[in-house]
Amino acid sequence: MTLTLNEKDHAMLRGDNGPATKMAMSILVRMAEITGAKELLDITGAHIDSTVYIGDAGLEFAEKLAGLGAKVSVPTTLNVSGLDEHHWHEWAVPSEWARQAHRQMIAYQSMGTIPTWTCAPYQTEMKPSFGQQIAWGESNAIVFANSVLGARTERYPDLFDVCCAITGRAPAIGLHLIENRAGSLLLQLMDIPEALQLSDDLYPVLGHLMGKVALERIPVISGMNAVPTEDQLKALGAASASSGAVALFHMVGVTPEAPTLKSAFQGKLPRETIKITMGMLRESRRELTHTDSEKLDIVVLGSPHFSLAEFKQLAPLVAGKQKHPDVKFLVTSSRAMTQLAEKAGFLESLQTFGAQLTVDTCILTSPMLPQELKYLMTNSAKFAYYAPGLLGRQITFGSLKDCVESAVEGNVIRDETLWTS
């Protein structure tokens, strides 16, 4: 099985479209060969995760491509950067680090991309459509695009997304191909109370569990009595792409490729079935908290980036209240979404409450948290998953309401009602 390239591919590989396209194509072709692809296919959109500043190597890669004159050939959104250009001085970001992260932003912006600076590009006007072939980076965006929108992308890493964006091509492998999109694992919800299904609290917890049991397989969730909201599906997918490598899930009766159980498995039988019980969900919820302490230094919300609907939900919860003076309260989102929230009047009560906003980045991709902030609380399974290793911080997982009430009290409070019934 060998890779066959078309005339345009050969031209790009020869350098007919310039040295940057040649470099991108040569990486793409080597990777296509390694994965056993038979051909490349056209994509009509890309999302670049390589914008996240990690260190010199990633910056050298970006500046090399930019220096060679790289331009994207399809509409391309940008993931979070390492820097909130407006607010970084308010935090502990070292200025040298800010300078490097800024250089990386400039490099990717110079390629003719759309500077969305968000890990939730599917909640912008650049949202892909059903069946659209795309090349996306950012694990939470990949799983949302595939599962909830029915767009088609492989689970692409940083540095590859940009090669696809420049060439407009991707290897014809994996989730680009319909036959590889059938479910392979059935997760049957067993007597999960409807009150919990209707609550936001279920989805990050179920997602964390789903990632752990599915790993890189395609899970199919059955037994839902409620229709989750877009943000609930976002939390589910993001959690499963952190604890596992889920790039596509189906939810029977909810997601577009799963109107029925049969269609979710493309007519085949599940290779494995796991019954999801309240006991397993309680254990999953427990795992997301990484401390026994009730101490609280900062509440962090917005991984993936806060949506307009989430701002709308938070505003009345904080209205008329003020956070405890010793606790910080941070919401991360994109600048575009923050502007929409401001226009809609959702930010006033947040400001009175004492909340701070960070745009275009988050606590995981920018070294913004000062050392003295040791105890974190969040409603995001992704923050909860990565904070201990990436930030060396203790973190407690709770609902949005728990997060607000804890911030007011100055220590961790969690409502256990939905989890004890």
Binding site: I27, I142, E154, R155, L159, E216, A241
Partner: protein, 148 residues
């Protein structure tokens, strides 16, 4: 002393030798690997706290973040990467870091996939030699397992 020979698929060919660091749990390098020192820092991972720099790392595949490639690339540049990585299949995220390291620094990282049954035979502390053709020669001293 036991000796075992495993035939792997070198999806990025290269030779390496060193002591193995093995886990059946997949790993995300972003949030899971400190590229400045080469330590595994995913506090939920069995290898948390182990130094993988200079070792032959064996994990079945990557999990989680799509930034894993970027972190592995940094560690290759910084000299804090494992000497080679053994997986149970062609791992796209690892492979890309190696391909880009070759493109930028002419320094690809050897990557080898072995069947799951062979992967299960690997133990932390085994001495491993890998050649360009993907032949893995594993040497185990009976006492070596506890030295890690």
């Amino acid at each position: 002393m036991d000796k075992l020979i495993i035939k792997g698929d070198p999806f990025i060919a290269g030779s390496a030798s060193g002591f193995a660091l093995v886990s059946a749990e997949p790993l995300s390098f972003w949030g899971g690997y400190d590229w400045k020192i080469g330590e595994i820092i995913d506090r939920r991972h069995p290898l948390s706290g182990s130094i993988a720099k200079g070792k032959i790392l064996a994990v079945p595949f990557t999990r989680g973040s799509s930034t894993t490639t970027a972190v592995l690339l940094e560690s290759i540049r910084a000299g804090t990467a494992p000497k080679a990585i053994i997986t149970t299949g062609t791992d796209f995220f690892f492979a890309l870091a190696s391909v880009v390291a070759d493109e930028l620094y002419a320094d690809p990282l050897p990557l080898i996939a072995v069947p799951e049954t062979d992967f299960a035979k690997l133990q932390t502390g085994d001495h491993i030699e890998i050649d360009n053709a993907g032949i893995i020669v594993l040497t185990r001293q009976n006492t070596s397992v506890n030295n890690y």
